[in-house]
């Protein structure tokens, strides 16, 4: 990026990017950086922060910092995988429904309506209860449920673009489906989809945390941030720091992603043909 472009980045975006970079680092190198193992008991439950344990110990006497670092890989990894799955399913199908219309659109949209008519949490609980909560099941369940929302957004965005005259020019040229999706629709649908990706990631992250909190998410002994809030929750009653650290980690990542998405969207959400 040119120096001038860098200077035009607002401070909030820098904060957001710093938060994301920090989380990315934890995601990539967390377990390597952790001073202790995630299952290693190193002291008494709920020991306050000390020189050896910067964030103190959790309810089982494990090092909080190490568990946060291990949990980063698990929590971020699960959310990222689930969101990636929901987008790789929802976006192509949404655009396909918009371009093909009629039968394809009707079938896909009614399936999506049906899935969406049941609250996500209920669907997720049923599936996870029935199949048992393993990582692949967790990721696929959340990804599939979320893809309905991605489908709806990409369908409506693609419908708008598909009605543009440049899309008509491409159709009249005889272009195939691949070109229509990849070259005409997708590049112009990126701004709302990128925003949705950021928001979906946050929602999924909180959803995984919620499931873990209910005991159906990531299973012990693996550390994940939502589960850590649950495990340490009784600490709140005694005015202890322990539950604050995983909760703060979730909050900071969510805020960071939102700040960056806000910046990416600011001034870039011009709609083609709005000056008609």
């Amino acid at each position: 990026m040119a120096p001038r472009a860098l200077r035009s980045v607002p401070p909030t975006a820098w904060i957001g990017m710093a938060l994301i970079a920090l989380n990315l680092l934890m995601f990539l190198l967390g377990p390597e950086l952790a001073p202790f193992g995630q299952e290693e008991t190193v002291g008494a439950p709920f020991d306050p922060p000390s020189a050896g344990h910067l964030l103190g110990l959790d309810q089982n006497g494990r090092d909080m910092l190490s568990r946060l670092l291990y949990g980063a890989r698990m929590s971020i990894g699960v959310s990222l995988a689930a969101v990636a799955l929901s987008f790789s399913l929802g976006v192509p199908l949404g655009i396909l429904a918009a371009i093909r219309g009629r039968a394809v659109d009707t079938v896909l949209s009614r399936v999506v309506d049906t899935v969406m008519s049941v609250p996500v949490l209920i669907s997720a609980l049923v599936v996870l209860q029935a199949l048992g909560s393993s990582l692949p099941v967790l990721i696929v369940t959340i990804g599939l449920l979320d893809s309905t929302r991605v489908f709806r957004l990409s369908r409506i965005v693609a419908q708008g673009i598909n009605a543009m005259e440049y899309a008509e020019v491409a159709r009249l040229r005889g272009e195939g489906l691949g070109w229509m999706i990849g070259r005409e629709i997708l590049p112009n649908a990126m701004p709302p989809l990128v925003a949705e990706f950021g928001l979906r990631f946050c929602f999924t992250f909180l959803f995984v945390a919620g499931l873990s909190y209910l005991g159906l998410g990531v299973q012990p002994p693996f550390a994940d941030w939502g589960g850590m809030v649950r495990d340490n929750q009784q600490g709140i009653l005694y005015g202890l720091y322990a539950p604050l650290f995983p909760a703060a980690a979730i909050a900071l990542l969510t805020i960071g992603v939102n700040l960056v998405v806000d910046w990416l969207l600011a001034g870039r959400t011009t709609v083609q043909g709005e000056n008609r």
Binding site: E165, Y166, L172, R173, G174, E175, N188, G273
Partner: protein
């Protein structure tokens, strides 16, 4: 302030700045005496609307009045507080916008919206306001003046709605009207009557007006004085007769010449008509159950330009969509180069798709904003002609040179180009397919007059050099006269007249053609009176 004493609106050294710091209007001074109409003329971006809004003490979209003084009916607006300025709007100065459909609330009856101004400002009692509204309806010759106000905006025609907006502007008996392209969105035949009524209403009540338009011929009928604007600055001003008959500045001369040239008769059939490329026989087409095209028969021969003219709703754009394969005919025969043309583009083979290309009205919507000019022009080259790498780049450069754009434009995105340049790119993209027929759908309607003139010249040159065949759809008769060899006049989905352009313009047979030809504004100041006199007869 040294404004003449009878001046209702006096502006001195007006300077308006956009939020990004760009100066939209600079150093504009004007005086508007009571009862006079001042025409503000210029292309898009000239700052004419900005001046009109500034006269109301308003800056649109965060624009700021950064300097100068605006004195309206004795009140200095730039120094006034917001409530003072708001009290002036509607009562002392009122605005008539280009699109009445966008200016009215579709869910509210007309009378409620029109009476809002006088009642809100407490200018008159409810009964007085209603009487005045009915009087205005009568003056503007709206049907059933007593009951007209009970209608909703969608229940009246476009011309009636434009007149209702005039009534809304006049409802507070303002001293000054700002008319911002009030007839531009109307069909020519409707424009004539709305223009006449606007003029008569303004004269009858002694209102002053700023008349904003890009159309010299329209403003020539109404304005006492003209101010020509360009890039936010005054080019020249004077009485209407002075400016039109002896323009001092080169820019004004070009504007006037463009309008006069449009009246010059066509050179006649310039091209030796070749084989028949497109042949329609007794074609019906429509959406759902209703037919938009009825019993349409026409043919286009190689190397000629066939113009299809008509007003909105005449079916001319539907005809373009039919030929392009976007709307299959319900009945009738469409032949292309002697062979039946499949109704839907989906059923046409690549050679068939390649041979019919289309150019649109809005070039910025017809180009993918994420594809560079080179990609847009290069795609048909690769798709139809299999050109790759250096061969494709050379061909793109050749096409860019052909349409008069520099070669380095290939790397630019459409957003970095002007409207006229983008339209050239669209033409190059169509040429890249080497079509047998080029459909031009209102290709100059969205462009400023001088830019449109350039595009027409380009199309003409391409025809001379490459023997292009055009199906030219337009509502603009002056364009037809300059470009078309033959012309088809459409009304309500039917062809009412067809013939060589020169013949059709000189001796129109159908009554509708005569009305249409008569309605094209001319620079002569007595044109409007002449038309009205002929209509009454």
């Amino acid at each position: 302030m040294s404004a003449p004493r009878d001046s209702v609106l006096a502006i001195r050294d007006l300077r308006v700045v956009a939020p990004n710091g760009a100066v939209l209007v600079d150093g504009i001074s004007l005086d508007l005496p009571r009862g006079e109409i001042l025409g503000l003329i210029g292309e898009s971006g000239a700052g004419k609307s900005t001046i009109g809004l500034a006269a109301m003490g308003y800056g649109r979209g965060g624009c700021r009045i950064a300097g100068g003084r605006i004195e309206l009916a004795g009140t200095e607006l730039t120094a006034s507080s917001r409530p003072v300025r708001e009290a002036m709007r509607g009562a002392r100065i009122a605005y008539v916008a280009q699109s009445a459909a966008a200016a009215f609330d579709p869910a509210m009856r007309l009378d409620r919206q029109i009476l809002e101004t006088p009642l809100q400002h407490g200018l008159m009692s409810a009964a007085e306001a209603r009487d005045w509204m009915v009087e205005l309806f009568r003056a503007l010759q709206l049907p059933d003046p007593e009951g007209f106000g009970r209608r909703y905006p969608h229940q009246v025609s476009g011309g009636q709605l434009q007149r209702a907006m005039m009534a809304m502007a006049m409802s507070g008996k303002p001293d000054v009207l700002v008319l911002d392209e009030p007839t531009t969105a109307l069909d020519v035949t409707t424009q004539v009557e709305v223009l006449a009524l606007l003029r008569d209403t303004i004269r009858r009540y002694g209102t002053s007006a700023l008349y904003i338009t890009h159309d010299l011929a329209v403003v020539a009928q109404l304005a006492d004085r003209l101010m020509v604007l360009r890039h936010g600055r005054e080019v020249e001003s004077g009485t209407t007769a002075e400016v039109l008959e002896s323009p001092r500045e080169d820019y004004t001369r070009r504007l006037v010449a463009e309008r006069r040239e449009s009246l010059a008769p066509a050179a006649g059939v310039r091209h030796d008509a070749g084989e028949t490329v497109l042949d329609l026989r007794n074609v019906d087409a429509g959406y759902g159950g209703s037919l938009v095209l009825q019993d349409v028969s026409l043919s286009v021969r190689r190397g000629e330009t066939l113009a299809v003219v008509g007003e909105s709703g005449s079916g001319k754009s539907t005809l373009a969509r039919l030929v392009a394969g976007l709307l299959p005919p319900a009945r009738g025969v469409v032949d292309f180069r002697g062979r039946p043309l499949p109704g839907s583009y989906r059923d046409r083979d690549l050679a068939g798709l390649k041979s019919i290309q289309m150019i649109y009205q809005l070039p910025d919507v017809a180009l993918n904003p994420r594809q560079t000019v080179g990609e847009a022009i290069g795609r048909p080259l690769a798709f139809y002609r299999g050109l790759r790498g250096a061969a494709r780049r050379e061909e793109v450069a050749r096409l860019l040179a052909l349409i008069g754009l520099p070669g380095d434009f290939a790397d630019r995105l459409p957003g970095a180009l002007s409207g006229g340049q983008n339209q050239r790119v669209c033409i190059a993209r169509a040429l890249a397919a080497e079509p047998d027929l080029l459909i031009c759908d209102e290709v100059t309607s969205a462009l400023d007059p001088l830019i449109a003139e350039d595009i027409l010249r380009l199309l003409r040159r391409l025809q001379d050099e490459l023997g292009m065949t055009y199906l030219f759809i337009t509502h603009d008769l002056s364009v037809v006269r300059r470009l078309a060899d033959r012309t088809v006049v459409m009304q309500k989905g039917r062809i009412v007249e067809e013939g060589p352009t020169a013949t059709l313009f000189e001796t129109p047979r159908a009554a509708y053609t005569r009305t249409l030809l008569d309605s094209v504004p001319e620079l002569r100041r007595d044109w409007l009176d002449g038309v009205l006199a002929r209509r009454v007869r």
